[in-house]
């Protein structure tokens, strides 16, 4: 017995128990949740979408490794957060987006949006959206060139614009679209149709993704279900998408009731464009969203309101990206005005 006691006892600080969930697990599960959306994107747009996802992923991983090396930090690719950024970035780009531009987007997303701030946990805005905002400004034509989905031969043939050479004038896809698209394809997203021609796309098409749009934003239903998976695993804050939907409804419902020919219904607003993807996967980015209970609601409402305002009254057809970026920038402010009321606080103030 006495021999046995000569062992080493370790000194630790309480608590001595730990919940099993880790950062790496959370991030991996977000990737899992995004995979069906990526799969649908490849099914709809074929090899071009696949190449796009692959290229952004590689670029993001390489950029992260490069910056880690430059700054002398241990390589942080293993925490999977870089993969989330890469997938989200690819899903928000048009399926026929030139691949060399995707490389630029990926580099900017990770380099400027994340690594320069100090890596995971320190960025102030969603890196994927930083990357997209950059290419939106740099390549305004390419990022608004929509190509049809479900074309025959999409698994063997690239959309011609995908393979455009760097710094050349963008490849015109009009001819290719005319050859491949079904009759009536205008190259306009549901939002553009609504805004400029007041044509409202069928809700079922929006849910299932039978519309033009970015590589991964077309099927609202699929994205919603994938997001629900995360919410049920408590790896995503369900209050954020909910408050975004509330925000959207709050402003678009009165407008719709006033003039239903000019303004779309709240349901259309929620299902069209990048709102579902943004609400489920990008606004919920833990790093850049507020943590306080009241702050979360405020943050979601801001995104919902801004999205509708930009869509209906701004020059752009789509406003989710800017709405989220602005809300990201606001989130420290939101957090500071919504600090939780602590146990026993009110009473003390009343007494003193």
């Amino acid at each position: 017995m006495s021999k046995k006691q000569k062992k080493v006892v370790e000194i630790r600080t309480s608590p001595h128990l730990k919940k099993a969930i880790s950062v790496e697990q959370i991030m991996r599960n977000v990737v899992y949740a995004l995979l069906p959306v990526c799969g649908w994107s490849v099914f709809q747009f074929g090899i071009s979408a696949f190449a796009l996802i692959l290229v952004t992923t590689l670029t993001c991983i390489l950029t992260e490794s490069l910056f880690c090396k430059l700054s002398g930090r241990p390589n942080s690719v293993g925490d999977y957060s870089v993969v989330i950024t890469a997938l989200l970035l690819a899903l928000t780009l048009p399926p026929g987006f030139p691949l060399w531009m995707a490389v630029v987007a990926g580099f900017i997303a990770i380099g400027l949006g994340k690594s320069l701030f100090g890596g995971l946990g320190f960025n102030v805005m969603n890196p994927a959206l930083i990357g997209r905002a950059f290419v939106q400004a740099a390549f305004p034509v390419a990022i608004t060139t929509w190509t049809p989905g479900f074309v025959t031969g999409r698994f063997v043939e690239f959309i011609p614009s995908s393979l455009a050479l760097p710094f050349m004038s963008p490849v015109n896809t009009d001819v290719w679209v005319k050859q491949h698209a079904l009759d009536g394809f205008t190259g306009a997203t549901p939002l553009a149709l609504q805004k400029f021609e007041h044509v409202t796309v069928d809700t079922i098409d929006l849910l299932t993704g039978m519309v033009a749009g970015s590589a991964g934003e077309t099927s609202a239903l699929l994205i919603f279900v994938c997001g629900l998976y995360l919410a049920f695993r408590k790896m995503m804050d369900w209050r954020i998408p909910l408050s975004i939907f509330v925000g959207v409804t709050l402003i678009s419902l009165p407008l719709y009731l006033m003039n239903s020919t000019l303004y779309p219904s709240p349901l259309f607003m929620m299902l069209s464009g990048g709102l579902m993807l943004g609400a489920m996967f990008m606004a919920t980015d833990m790093v850049v969203s507020p943590m306080t209970a009241k702050g979360v609601w405020l943050y979601g409402l801001v995104i919902g309101l801004l999205t509708v305002l930009i869509r209906l009254f701004g020059g752009l057809t789509e406003g989710v990206m800017y709405a989220i970026l602005v809300a990201n920038a606001l989130s420290p402010l939101i957090a500071s005005v919504t600090q939780p009321k602590i146990y026993g606080a009110q009473k003390q103030e009343a007494e003193s």
Binding site: S14, I342, G344, K347
Partner: protein, 451 residues
């Protein structure tokens, strides 16, 4: 996150965590007396407040139950001999769970002795005045047996202008692994109720509520059976959730009142006592005896004979662990529960009055493996866990840049009672609770220097 709370039935507080209880290892095991160790170590400062003052000299023979040290002030308690034996030393420095070495009385046990408690005197509680009762509680050396080790009699005497209306008896035992309070409630129900009635008289409290987590419903029904009709004592089940047994949380759950920030339960007319304390008082006070032993849960994957042992105060951990069959690959010995307890650096640390459990972990345990620490990803899990509703993430970030004063002035650092929920849930594995301990210690130092 709170969706399911809409349908909750039992009383509870907001936030908190649900660690695996691991109580099945010992919950069914009846309290068993531990043999007497050959050497007993009784630190003079094992309670909050002034250390006790020795009454004995080296070489003196002592009888089990005999007072060996007297209280060193009002916030202090006397000590009693846990064994019949001979005093070897009265000021030897011994290690304690908290770290610093403290003076202790060392008693060598007489092996031949029958170890009967001959000390004590029957006293009629009904005839005692309130003051005499409070004195009797102090004389018994009683401290909070739930772990805080705060002298029990101090809480009986509310400050000027305040009174105690409600007694809350804490039978939550929210710490994983620990089952000693559960066994006490089941096996010493009569003593428990007797103790509560005595303390109600000493405080003048109108009612007493026993709060028990709903994973111990057998204890609830056992207690309710013994209550008389229209009893001033009631027993309530509360949700099984850590840290339900923290006094502020239990008050919120049972009375839906909040203790003012920086205040004490007595500010809202409440005093909280542990069930173990009450049961011991119920046994000791009528015979005017002293506290010489307590129930300790010895559990965890590192022991082969886990159980609820009746352990003489002063038994060295080494002896206790030998008796409980500690395995050779045990690598962490925790005094108290795994959420708030302390690991010991040495097995020479004795069992003191505040030790409710000894939990032994082995190296293979999943929880014991080193996990990398990531930066804060601002997931907000700690905000949803903090029972006090602090912002641990913000506090942690401030701590990492040493803004200790801002933590206190702007983010309520002082309200943190170090329950460990934030560290427990943190996916980045940031040692938040430890950060806060350090910050508090540094703030105390800075203030002491300034003063």
């Amino acid at each position: 996150m709170g969706l399911f709370n809409l349908f909750r039935r039992t009383k509870t507080f907001k936030h908190g965590v649900h660690p695996m209880a691991h109580k099945e290892q010992t919950a069914h095991l009846a309290i068993k007396r531990l043999p007497f160790a050959p050497k007993m170590v009784i630190p003079l400062a094992q309670h909050i407040g002034a250390p006790a003052v020795p009454l004995v000299k080296p070489g003196q023979e002592v009888v089990r139950g005999e007072p060996i040290a007297e209280a060193g002030g009002f916030v202090s308690v006397p000590m009693h001999a846990p064994v019949t034996g001979i005093v070897r030393s009265i000021d030897q420095l011994v290690p304690t769970a908290a770290g610093p070495k403290t003076p202790a009385i060392i008693i060598e046990t007489y092996e031949a002795s029958r170890q009967e408690v001959l000390y004590g005197l029957e006293q009629d509680l009904e005839s005692l005045s309130r003051e005499a009762l409070i004195e009797a509680v102090q004389a018994s050396g009683m401290v909070g047996l739930g772990g805080a080790a705060f002298p029990s009699h101090v809480k009986l005497l509310p400050p000027e202008g305040k009174s105690i209306d409600t007694l809350i008896i804490n039978g939550c035992e929210c710490e994983p692994y620990l089952t000693c309070d559960h066994r006490v409630m089941l096996e010493q129900t009569d003593k428990l109720l007797a103790g509560i009635r005595t303390i109600m008289r000493a405080t003048g409290a109108r009612q007493a509520i026993i709060g028990v987590e709903d994973n111990k419903l057998d204890a609830v029904s056992k207690i309710r059976e013994k209550l008389v009709k229209d009893d001033a004592i009631t027993c309530e089940a509360v949700e099984t959730k850590y840290p339900q047994g923290a006094e502020k949380m239990l008050i919120k759950s049972l009375l839906n009142k909040e203790v003012p920030s920086g205040g004490l339960p007595v500010d809202i007319g409440v005093a909280v006592y542990n069930v173990g304390t009450m049961a011991q008082l119920g046994e000791l006070i009528p015979q005017s005896r002293g506290l010489i032993e307590r129930v300790v849960t010895v559990s965890g994957p590192g022991v082969s004979k886990p159980g609820n042992y009746l352990v003489p105060i002063g038994t060295p951990l080494r002896f206790l662990m030998e008796q409980a069959g500690s395995s050779s690959d045990a690598n962490e010995v925790i005094v108290g529960g795994p959420m708030m307890g302390m690991t010991v650096a040495s097995l020479d640390v004795p069992v003191t009055k505040g030790v409710s459990g000894v939990v032994v972990f082995k190296e293979e345990n999943e929880d014991q493996k080193n996990r990398p620490v990531y930066p804060c990803i601002k997931c907000g899990a700690c905000l949803d866990a903090c029972p006090i509703n602090l912002n641990p993430s913000m506090l942690g970030q401030l701590a990492s840049v040493r803004q200790y004063e801002v933590m206190e002035t702007d983010y309520h650092l002082k309200d943190c009672f170090e329950c460990g929920c934030c560290s427990y849930v943190c996916p980045s594995n940031i040692p938040l609770t430890q950060y806060f301990r350090i910050a508090k210690a540094i703030n105390r130092e800075t203030k002491a220097v300034a003063a």
